[in-house]
């Protein structure tokens, strides 16, 4: 035993080196591969909760979301807008680059054009998504969103009314370039072809605020 004592430190070093090279954990230690997870295997991600993104849809009352008087748009009607603006305010303090407001069809709307028949004899029918400024030369049925104005810190990315944008894939309508809030106002417009089947049509539109 006494002769082995001087060799013990060297043996310990050799064990440590061998462990690190072979990835073998010594009793009471963990190998590098196992160092991060806890016993349950989960790792905690902590985000900066003082950096938020905000959206305010109080300027979008229900009455502003019906196309035509009392929601009536008849087959053959030319472009008819919603009667009042739907205003949305947005901001983010994540950075001085501000926030963006995007418009798209809600995923719950499924595939196909945004304005679809929901109830009635029109089952399976829809109004085509429309992007353009000149409704007068269009034929057939169409639906889209229009930016009416941008206020506060908002800068429009969309051109304003009468330019219309399809509500399909996400499109940035407005953005800010500071932590101040911006407000953008929208209307929705539709035109119905004479051959369209009457019924209850609905579009699911999603406004999303995100940090730039």
């Amino acid at each position: 035993m006494r002769t082995a004592l001087p060799w013990l430190p060297l043996l310990l070093v050799a064990m440590l080196l061998g462990s690190s090279q072979l990835g073998i954990p010594l009793p009471g230690t963990t190998s590098p591969a196992d160092a991060a997870p806890s016993v349950s295997g989960d790792v905690e991600i902590v985000g900066e909760v003082d950096k938020d993104v905000q959206i305010d849809g109080s300027g979008c009352p229900g009455g502003s979301l019906v196309i035509g008087a009392a929601g009536s748009i008849a087959p053959g009607d030319p472009m008819v807008q919603t009667a009042a603006d739907c205003s949305v305010s947005f901001s983010s303090n994540n950075s001085a680059l501000g926030a963006s407001l995007t418009v798209q069809e809600d995923a719950a709307g499924g595939t196909g054009p945004a304005m679809k028949c929901t109830i009635g004899a029109c089952a399976g029918s829809s109004l085509e998504d429309f992007t353009g400024a000149n409704w007068a030369v269009t034929t057939g049925s169409h639906f889209g969103a229009q930016l009416m104005s941008a206020a506060g810190a908002a800068t429009p990315t969309w051109a304003t009314n009468p330019q219309t944008y399809a509500v399909a894939a996400a499109s940035t309508a407005c953005s800010t370039s500071s932590i101040a809030a911006g407000t953008c106002s929208f209307r929705f417009a539709a035109a119905s072809d004479a051959a369209d089947v009457p019924g209850a049509y609905e579009a699911l539109v999603q406004f999303t605020a995100q940090a730039n």
Binding site: V43, G47, K51, Q54, S64, L65, G71, L97, S100, P198
Partner: protein, 313 residues
């Protein structure tokens, strides 16, 4: 004897009583009707097969209760270079599917703060790359579809997105370059001077860029640095237009501007063409006077010498 204390007390009661509703009214006027979601953006490196726990914090700052809906979606770079990312169309098919919020919908009261735990499970067979996703908390603003009359109606949801940028490491390359440089060549007095460039992330990593436009005089002395407004985050394949204004410039001279960026610890620099700043009219007049005066004096002295020479003769 008691008149003064009574008047003072009555005055205090009126003031305090008046201030309370005023304060409340002031609170009502400035109280926002907003939904707030934090954190705005989280960037993290993850490993295949690993599970992570995180949380998003939602606040109902409106005056009314409503049902908040929590969904997860994929993110992708935006087409326009002013937007960091957009929600991909349709249901989550990519990284958005890794996220499992503990709450799908919940009635929230005014001023209520809701901590939403979120579990992230990274697939074991995922390839190295950057995987952006978002946790959205949404509110239905109007649901006219409950009315079954004929017509065309729109159901609108408004939501805030908490972005998650997850990187699975492994042989990824950080690469970025500057293009579409735009700068003035000659600046007249009073002209606005703007330097612009587009930073393109053409690598396959998420990058953060910060830097400045360095403006050095032709002589190399007294260089100015125009700081970019803030750090810029870019997803792979994304680009961002960087602009900065040169407000406090010297009145005259030749200058050599250049963009100097640190893009995730890698330098990315480009030089602009030389810029010539023209002086204001009064400086031009001074310069002309300064050049002309010696010539005038010299001509007059020569003329006097000639006259003196003639007289001697």
């Amino acid at each position: 004897m008691y008149a003064r204390p009574l008047i003072l007390a009555a005055t205090l009661v009126v003031l305090v009583g008046g201030l309370v509703p005023l304060t409340q009214a002031a609170q009502d006027r400035v109280r926002p009707e907003t939904l707030s979601l934090a954190p705005a953006r989280t960037v993290y490196t993850v490993r295949p097969g690993q599970t992570y726990n995180t949380r998003v914090v939602f606040r109902n700052l409106t005056r009314s209760p409503f049902t908040a809906h929590v969904v997860t979606r994929d993110l992708k770079p935006a087409d326009d270079d002013g937007t960091f990312a957009v929600i991909a169309q349709g249901q989550a098919r990519g990284a958005g599917k890794w996220f499992a919020p503990a709450v799908q919908s919940r009635r929230v009261q005014p001023d209520e703060k809701l901590d939403i735990p979120v579990r992230i499970t990274v697939p074991a067979d995922v390839r190295p790359g950057v995987y952006p996703a978002a946790v959205l908390v949404q509110r239905v603003l109007s649901n006219p579809a409950s009315n079954e009359r004929d017509g065309a109606r729109i159901t609108v949801t408004a939501g805030a997105a908490s972005q998650f940028i997850l990187t699975v490491p492994g042989g990824l390359e950080t690469k970025a370059h500057l293009e579409q440089l735009d700068s003035p060549r000659v600046l007249w007095p009073g002209d606005k001077a703007r330097f612009a460039a587009t930073l393109v992330n053409d690598g396959d990593t998420f990058v953060t860029a910060k830097g400045h436009v360095a403006i050095g005089p032709f002589t190399g002395y007294a260089q100015q640095n125009l700081q970019l407004p803030d750090k810029v985050d870019l997803l792979p394949g994304a680009q961002r237009r960087l602009e900065v204004e040169w407000d406090d410039r010297p009145p005259f001279g030749w200058f050599e501007p250049s963009v100097v960026l640190d893009v995730s610890t890698r330098p990315v620099n480009r030089s602009y063409p030389l810029v010539f700043v023209l002086p204001p009219w009064w400086m031009v007049a001074l310069l002309v006077a300064a050049l002309m005066l010696p010539i005038v004096f010299w001509l007059r002295r020569r003329s006097r010498r000639d006259d003196e020479g003639l007289e001697r003769d």
